[in-house]
Symmetry: C2
Subunit: 592 residues, 2 copies
């Protein structure tokens, strides 16, 4: 079936059901960022494979709303699909709702599948359209009927991590969450977000690519806690462990029944951004739920000392794999034909050699020359560039290890280097160093770290269009909240134990992209007359290429940091390398 | 009447009227920061004269809620008043409402004078207390009955500024405001805030100390505009001018009638933070008003080129006065007895010699030694310190000129200087330079400038407890919104034409305080591949003392900026000085 045939099929169904506009969001019943195949609805309907977007179909219009990261990709993928690209002005804002409000009139009907829309989005839609007497139906899955070979729900194995790995017992975590739930005035708490559930039950799975989570829901009361999961995914000993921790296990699809049985007026705490509308509306008197951040989200972000120590060890392994990869790349670039895709495979192989490695934490971005200027580039068979002995190569990659999640970006030069490239690289590096080395008062917010990181670029009238950093899970999602380092006015305190990326960049359209990214751990620094201060401990261990540095643009403190960082990388990684590899790394980390 | 007698009197009235808790906010019917004497209710009732605070009285408790700036002062002033200091955790947050919620029970009655509470505060109070069935009465002025010699409303002269001074006609401004009003879906717009009204009608007055405003309200519809003002304040020719601009003039106390006559359901735009509850509740169906920032607030903040040019000229005058003052101070410190109060008078005299000077823009802060560490210190007869030839003196002062408002802080050393003082001074200066010289993408927010300004202090584990900068009016209030440079997540864009202070500081309790403050104008910088950039033009013209600088803590760019700034000060100011003064200033501004 071609995309235009699918569109035709959808419009036929719309007509039959008197639907004037149909919305297909990019989500799943757990409001995930990375989706199981069953929920890749936008790709099925339009061919667009970006991680963020919304389709809206009316009788005479079909559009994909997505943001600047995906304009180039969307334009290509939507060719002949019948869908047009609508460029979002603000990333993440549901601007299609405004469009619907302008395009529809009283009596028109809008429909969507409530399993794919968060409570926030659905409520926003209702608030905007209902006053104009537009009907809204959140229970319509039109895709299911035309998607004949639609994949089922994933049913991969899941398993528990032991307490030695994660540093906290399930019962201990449940007690903390319950405490926050009760303080919020709630008697029940429903968790839909898979990484929150994974954290709470020390459980991991393979249901979503790159994210070691398992399809499930969790429902807590002041006395009970139930995990809704396909029981077959769990080995008997893991089921036993959960039961011992006081966790009831119920079938995944039993949630709806359990919600329906909740007492009317029994206040339920939900996170409207991490709960889907279909599940939400199963709660009796759902309009009286208590809305707030899932308590697990903040608790999960604050890594305990066991997790932090495991992450440090994981970084050594990841650093070894990366060192071998970059050495191999340097030695083979002029010997054989290498492409963006082939080096991506090779990098994966090096990581796979490391003990505890599970899989990639996201799709590797290997962007050569102009491809590097697309911050979310993913090489395809069509785009796959062949590397030559010149120009900049950007590699943003990460691994899921049983003991931590990594995410690192490095840029190297494959040959000659221009002064302009050197300047851009050095300014990005300077920003990364400024952000990583800053001390900041306890209570600071991500937007403050963001501004400090950008300053060296701003000073030279440069900037980058993405955030400076995101939270990273512990052997969990590579993007996690609640904190973030970006320009937005997000009022979340940076707390001790949070792991965040610092990844300034600089993109020259059609020429090259630069991004340098390390993960950092928020730690306590000194207390002075001026209050408690915090700092960052850099976790990532992989040499930063000094060949691209223009020393005249750095202050001595930046040069000192760079030398000391590279020296630390050598000290920690070299014991695990062969002699020849050690020599190679010693050269790369030589002081400048 | 002593304060305890007043408290006794208030409690008697409370008992008579069955009031369990009485709230006295620090405000007036225009939600002003600086109050006419008639509304200095907190000072009358408790003796506390700080600019921010709230009194709450119950049968067995009487407290003043205020923030850290005023702890020392409040402790002193509340002695034997019957009131206790309650320390606010968050400046500006109405934490007393939480206290009321905890202390009162169903059936209790809370009362306040709705003329002294903003709509926001009143609504917050109602939202927090009403669910607990606590009764709320916002129409009770208990003070009036016991305040026998309460001052009347001020009735000072008012006048219009001509278009040559302010660069825009009244009718032009009205058209802009009306346009925003209509776009917001409102048919009417009520303005209560005095500086917004002063801007809109190009009117100035003398009703509030330091703020050249006049007591008034304004009501706009799509066709009409009415200024509610005591007509006698205006000369006939100014009344004529207003009428020509299409402005109806009505008596100040006629507002209530006019509001009552508004059509039911005629949507009224109000700013809930700048409108008092008593006036608000006069609007028919007031619960259906449209709430938003007063359009005047943003328009007023963006200075036009005429205003900007007048401010530049005003800074020269202020700089001359300040230069003469600092020269006089240096020459007289060891000759005569000088005190914080006597030098404050002298500084005023130097400013008064300048053409167009009207009065101070706020109470001068002349803080010698430990007094400098109190950011909002105001010398009193009791505290007034005598200056000696040693230690640091902080002077934060400003003037209202017919052509602009100034606000400047400098710190000088009266004698020997310690290394620690030098380090602190230099770090504050470094922060001021970093903030003032940064370029920033169009669309940046104040919290980003704040972080950049604080960074040099954070680097040495120092910080300051106040914001980095506030908006400044054009011959209007020295504090104006909507923008602000501070750590809070306030989502207001910095726009071209905004005037803001940059004033980092550092306070060593019991020893000294440092703050260096200039006003800056936001201007367009270059547009590059990375978007449009903006920068600051420093407006303030007064030498920065280089004797206190530890050059080793500065980068060359900071030293270059300092030399270039001091040189600019000399170039602009010296033509207006006597030869001897020129020589003195030349020494002060010599390059380092």
């Amino acid at each position: 079936m071609t995309y235009t045939e699918k569109l035709l099929g959808l419009r036929k169904k719309m007509k039959e059901q008197q639907i004037d506009a149909y919305i297909i969001p990019s989500s799943d019943p757990h409001i995930s960022e990375y989706l199981p195949d069953r929920f890749k609805c936008i790709a099925f309907a339009s061919g667009f494979t970006g991680s963020a977007g919304t389709l809206v179909i009316t009788e005479d219009f079909a559009g994909l709303w997505t943001d600047a990261r995906y304009f180039v990709q969307a334009n290509e993928q939507l060719k002949d699909s019948g869908f047009q690209l609508v460029k979002l002005k603000n990333q993440g804002k549901p601007e299609y709702i405004e469009w619907l409000s302008d395009s529809l009139t009283a009596g028109n009907k809008v429909a969507f599948d409530g399993k794919l829309a968060s409570v926030s989005i659905a409520k926003h839609l209702i608030a905007e359209l209902q006053p104009s007497k537009i009907l809204i139906d959140g229970t319509v899955d039109l895709l299911d009927e035309i998607w004949t070979d639609r994949p089922g729900l994933p049913n991969n194995e899941a398993y528990l991590l032991d307490e030695k790995t994660v540093g906290a017992a399930i019962s201990e975590k449940i007690a903390k969450v319950r405490d926050i739930m009760l303080k919020a005035g709630a008697k029940y708490h429903l968790i839909s977000s898979l990484d929150d559930i994974a954290w709470l039950f020390n459980i991991r799975g393979n249901d979503v690519k790159c994210n070691p989570v398992v399809l499930s829901f969790a429902l807590l009361s002041d006395k009970e806690v139930t995990l809704f999961i396909d029981q077959e995914k769990l080995q008997p000993h893991d089921q036993e462990k959960l039961k011992k921790a006081g966790v009831h296990i119920a079938a995944y699809d039993q949630l709806v029944d359990s919600l329906a049985k909740l007492p009317v007026g029994g206040s339920v705490l939900i996170d409207p951004k991490r709960t889907c509308y279909a599940v939400y509306t199963q709660i009796p008197q759902y309009e009286n739920t208590i809305e707030g951040l899932n308590p697990t989200t903040r608790l999960k972000a604050i890594k305990n000392t066991t997790e932090a120590e495991h992450i440090r060890q994981t970084m050594v392994k990841d650093g070894v794999a990366l060192t071998r990869f970059f050495k191999w790349l340097e030695e083979n670039i002029s010997q054989t034909t290498l492409t963006e895709l082939s080096i991506t495979d090779k990098l994966l192989q090096f990581r796979q050699q490391q003990e505890g490695f599970v899989n990639e934490s996201f799709d590797t971005i290997a962007g050569y020359l102009a491809h590097g200027a697309l911050p979310h580039y993913k090489a395809t068979d069509q785009s796959n560039a062949t590397l030559a002995s010149k120009g900049l190569l950007l590699i943003d990659s990460g691994g899921q290890y049983r003991t931590g999640t990594t995410d690192i970006t490095r840029v190297i030069s494959l040959g000659e280097l221009t002064d302009a490239e050197r300047v851009d690289y050095t300014l990005v590096l300077k920003g990364m160093i400024e952000g990583s080395t800053t001390t900041y008062p306890k209570g600071s917010r991500g937007y403050q770290i963001d501004a400090i990181t950008r300053k060296p670029l701003w000073d030279r009238l440069r900037n980058y269009g993405h955030g400076t950093g995101h939270g990273v899970g512990f052997f969990l999602n590579v993007h996690e909240g609640p904190h973030v380092f970006n320009t937005a006015n997000i009022d979340i305190e940076i707390e001790e134990g949070m792991v965040t990326s610092i990844e300034p960049g600089l993109y020259r359209e059609g020429r090259y992209g630069i991004r340098i990214e390390n993960l950092v751990l928020s730690i306590a620094d000194q207390e002075t007359d001026f209050g408690e201060f915090m700092a960052f401990e850099t976790l990532t261990l992989c040499y930063i290429d000094t060949q691209l540095v223009d020393k005249t643009l750095l202050d001595q403190k930046h040069i000192d940091w760079l030398n000391s960082y590279n020296n630390m990388v050598y000290e920690r990684i070299s014991p695990l390398l062969e002699v020849e590899e050690q020599q190679w790394l010693a050269e790369k980390t030589a002081i400048i």
